[in-house]
């Protein structure tokens, strides 16, 4: 399944509807649905917030290939990404030293089996893969 969504967090309601239709068609359990919702929201909102010079819409596709769920987002005509998606997050810090930055990608990386990025010809693509037998949430 593939659909384009306006580059705005207000697209999330429509995006969650898209995810539910995919989850229903694939008869996914609640644990996997939670992971897909979280991964898509965090990746989408990161593109909205951090990518500059982009077009009006971001493509989101959800596919199943045997035992794998494949989540792909494509952001077209964007400037090179200035945020390091792999910066570490220290989740053991005491409250006073905590900042929320980077937490979304940390959550996604912890809950999916692979997360890859590609930037080519002014298109930023991010792909997350979740193994269906590994539903730890």
């Amino acid at each position: 399944m593939k659909q384009s969504f306006a580059r705005n967090v207000s697209s999330l309601e429509e995006l969650f509807g898209f995810i539910e239709r995919f989850a229903e068609a694939q008869t996914l359990g609640e644990g996997v649905r939670f992971v897909v919702r979280l991964a898509v929201e965090e990746l989408f909102t990161n593109l909205v917030r951090h990518n500059t010079g982009g077009g009006a819409a971001i493509d989101v596709s959800l596919d199943r290939d045997g035992g794998e769920l494949i989540i792909r987002l494509a952001d077209f005509d964007v400037d090179p990404v200035s945020v390091d998606p792999d910066r570490p997050v220290d989740v053991d810090l005491p409250l006073a030293e905590r900042t929320p930055g980077g937490l979304g990608i940390h959550l996604v990386k912890s809950m999916v089996d692979s997360l890859t990025y590609e930037y080519e010809h002014r298109t930023f693509r991010v792909t997350a893969i979740k193994h269906l037998e590994d539903t730890h949430v």
């Binding site: 967090v9 207000s10 999330l12 309601e13 969650f16 609640e30 644990g31 939670f34 919702r37 979280l38 929201e41 965090e42 909102t45 989740v91 053991d92 810090l93 005491p94 409250l95 006073a96 905590r98 929320p100 937490l103 979304g104 940390h106 959550l107 912890s110 809950m111 730890h136 949430v137």
Partner: protein, 94 residues
């Protein structure tokens, strides 16, 4: 859909899906809290980092004044999110 339900005597209740599109509404409610209180998550289905950020900012503000947010009745998926984020060590969880 996301909503915050206040009652005269009971805890604040979060209901539905707390995603990035709902975080301004959530912050507006959390900003009114000035003392220790409990937030009931029993009817909260989902939370992302945007909601975690709003809760963290409130916990830090309250902590500076000697108060604290306590979170109750987290479902297993949200509890796992809190564990991965390390939030289970900065929030009392019932």
């Amino acid at each position: 859909m996301f909503d915050v339900i206040r009652s005269e005597s009971g805890p604040l209740r979060f209901v539905g899906r707390l995603d990035a599109s709902q975080v301004d509404k959530t912050r507006a409610v959390l900003d009114t809290i000035s003392e220790s209180c409990v937030i009931d998550f029993a009817a909260l289905e989902y939370i992302s980092s945007a909601g975690l950020g709003a809760l963290l900012a409130t916990q830090k503000r309250l902590g500076d004044a000697g108060h604290s947010l306590t979170l109750a009745h987290l479902n297993k998926h949200i509890r796992e999110i809190f564990r991965i984020a390390g939030f289970d060590i900065v929030f009392p969880i019932e």
